[in-house]
């Protein structure tokens, strides 16, 4: 039986990318000591913002007078999505950093708020479609049954890989990354040295929001170029889990994301291949069970256990 491995890998990449994008952003946020649970809300904001911007920019009445607008529409969509995600994140940041609100509750409020606002804005876009923000390499590379493994993806896929590398380099090889990690490990010391804890955290939160917004636009511009309420269907929560079981390390994040994507795709392959001796819900629950198992295993292993940033989830209180 000839199993198309290339096609399977391409599918896994497509499934994993949005989670990887959101998780990469959240990694920076958590490294700075903040826990932003609002990823799902920011993704939905990004999804509708990206779709709306792409749709409006592709509208013939504009592209007739400015044809370059039509070609750039999806890119514009991604940028707008990033901004929308960042705005949601900054709302969270203001409440948590400046007003000292509880991080868990504020993050949850952002999830609900983002969901509601995206539905409200999206009401006017139901039933519309845009061209998918798909391959950027020419057909002979992108459609080739083997070469598509490398060349067949949407720009956002390559962007995701690049960003993992950028984040790794930033955290481990730059002074700014060192400051960020210091703020996350010991905010009082960092403060006494003279770093602006609040400033660093605002930046990290905004970055996380932008990445989550871009992750959301992956849903509405790449996978299914349309808008539907709650279309991210819980992927934001998976991204959060991913940061934890990556041990807050960028390299592990990439591996962990693909591990999860593998299981999500495995569910579909099992169902499509007729593994009916196990109920289909068993396969559907598998990725989540595996997430728990991996979380447990990673936390249990002595050598492999990476510590969370010491200040994670605690607000900065210099005059405590």
């Amino acid at each position: 039986m000839n199993f198309d491995f290339v096609a399977a890998i391409v599918t896994i990449v497509g499934v994993t990318t949005p989670i990887l994008l959101a998780a990469t952003g959240e990694l920076i946020v958590e490294k700075s000591g903040v826990l932003n649970l609002g990823v799902e809300g920011m993704m939905l904001l990004g999804a509708i913002a990206g779709f709306a911007a792409t749709f409006i920019a592709s509208d013939p009445q504009y592209s007739d007078s400015a044809p370059w607008l039509g070609a750039l529409a999806p890119w514009l969509g991604v940028v707008v999505a990033a901004c929308a995600g960042a705005l949601g994140a900054l709302l969270f940041g203001f409440m948590v950093l400046t007003l000292g609100a509880n991080q868990v509750a504020t993050g949850l409020a952002l999830v609900i708020f983002g969901g509601g606002v995206s539905s409200l804005i999206g009401a006017g876009f139901i039933g519309m479609a845009v061209t998918p923000f798909d391959q950027i390499f020419p057909d002979n590379l992108a459609q080739d049954p083997v070469l598509k493994l490398v060349f067949g993806y949407s720009p956002l896929v390559y962007f995701a890989f690049i960003m993992v590398g950028v984040v790794y380099w930033f955290l481990n090889k730059t002074r700014a990354g060192l400051v960020l990690r210091a703020v996350g490990e010991n905010d009082l010391s960092a403060h006494s040295i003279g770093y602006s804890v609040i400033g660093v955290r605002y930046g990290a939160i905004a970055f996380g929001g932008a990445m989550a917004g871009i992750a959301g636009s992956y849903f509405s511009e790449v996978i299914t170029p349309l808008w539907a309420e709650q279309m991210t269907a819980g992927r934001g929560w998976i991204a959060l889990a991913l940061v934890v079981f990556s041990g807050w390390r960028a390299g592990r994040l990439l591996a962990g994301a693909y591990f999860f994507g593998l299981f999500m795709t495995l569910e579909l392959y099992a169902k499509a291949s007729g593994f009916s001796f196990l109920p289909s819900q068993f396969w559907a629950a598998m990725p989540y069970v595996m997430a728990i198992v991996v979380l447990a295993v990673m936390s249990a292993r002595e050598s492999g256990r990476a510590e969370a940033p010491a200040c994670l989830g605690k607000n900065f209180t210099p005059d405590a």
Partner: protein, 365 residues
């Protein structure tokens, strides 16, 4: 002139009580304005969402029905949140509570009576507690974050429900629809009590709110819970066993969620079907617990507010044609306002002018 936040010596009790009310009022004002600006009849929307369910007596039963599970689950969450144990997966525990009840009903098919119902209630409590025991175990033994483990279990619970209603518990006379057989008469709790619009769940909620209040404010256990949350290191020195408290708070909140699920299934729907997963009470209850300032009596009031706004959201949909998502936006906004206003509880606003004399604003500490 500079505006500064100055930490109060003690959190302001006046502000603690006033801020939730202020949050709700501010949400109404801001909501009315914004919805008006985007083209809907804003003030009317606010009226339908917040006031119609209070004044229209035919809506009371719906409000009561929705408030019951919200308050029950929130009570358990208040306890855990005070200890800074975050049970985000209460929805999963709610679902397994309902599933446990339906399973008991299935195995006692044809029978009924007080003992069967008591068994169902116990099953709901135990199932919820056990489902929450998993994150408790993972947290205490393996330091796995309970937010994520309890959340992942929500998805597992949803799939388990799907499995049960399409497989082992499926009604043989149900035309192969994914649902259980309807419960026998003797297995059912009454939907409302003594001719009032009050469901049994709401009575349970009021009673348990009182119990939780006594426990949290006056018992050794409650003291330990608060100590672990506010000053974990000191609490440990003081002899409180953090691990035990984690187990206890998680299992109690799980049991409460399971009870809520059981009561919903046994006093309202009398069967289990896929629609059971759509209400998401377990997540809304998190908002309730924060809106109620993690206080059992606050949770009761907050639960009523959330129930009113949910019911009102549906009325507004028909009356003002605002989209269904509107209620959620209002609820999230209330939560934002109350979280933001937390700062007024802990700090007071100080305006420093260039003159030597200072004015302090912000009410009495």
């Amino acid at each position: 002139m500079i505006i500064r936040f100055e930490k109060r010596r003690e959190p302001s009790k006046v502000m603690q009580a006033a801020t939730p009310i202020g949050a709700v009022v501010l949400t109404m004002i801001v909501g009315a304005i914004i919805f008006d600006l985007i083209g809907y009849d804003g003030p009317r929307a606010v009226k339908e969402i917040f006031f119609t369910p209070i004044f229209a007596s035919y809506k009371w039963q719906d409000v009561a029905r929705k408030a019951a599970p919200l308050i029950l689950i929130a009570l358990g969450l208040c306890l855990g949140n005070r200890a800074k144990v975050w049970n985000i997966g209460a929805e999963g525990q709610y679902l397994v509570g309902g599933m446990a009840g339906a399973t008991v009903a299935y195995f006692t098919a044809g029978h009924g009576g007080v003992w069967v119902i008591a068994l169902m209630i116990v099953a709901g409590l135990v199932a919820g507690a056990l489902w929450a025991a998993i994150p408790a175990f993972l947290k205490t033994r393996l330091r796995v974050n309970e937010i994520l483990s309890s959340l992942m279990l929500v998805y597992v619970a949803q799939q388990l429900l799907g499995y049960l209603v399409t497989g082992p518990l499926k009604d043989p006379n149900g035309q192969n629809f994914p649902q259980t057989a309807p419960f026998a008469d003797g297995q059912r709790l009454p939907s409302t009590l003594w001719g009032t619009p009050i469901p049994p769940g709401l009575v349970a909620a009021f009673v348990l709110a009182f119990v939780f209040f006594i426990v949290m404010e006056r018992s050794e256990f409650g003291l330990g819970v608060r100590a672990i949350g506010e000053a974990p290191k000191a609490a440990r020195y003081g002899g409180y066993d953090a691990n035990r408290l984690i187990w206890q708070t998680l299992m109690i909140s799980g049991a409460m969620a399971g009870l809520a699920g059981l009561l919903e299934v046994d006093s309202q729907t009398f069967k289990l079907d896929l629609g059971f997963t759509t209400s998401l009470y377990g997540f809304t209850a998190i908002i309730v617990s924060f809106l109620g300032r993690l206080h059992p009596l606050g949770a009761v009031l907050a639960g009523l507010v959330l129930a009113i706004s949910s019911v009102g959201g549906q009325v507004a949909q028909t009356a003002v044609h605002v989209p269904y998502a509107t209620a959620g936006i209002f609820q999230a906004t209330m939560l934002f306002f109350i979280l933001a206003s937390d700062v007024l509880v802990r700090k007071r606003i100080v305006i420093v002018s260039s003159e030597p004399a200072r004015k302090a604003l912000g009410g009495a500490a």
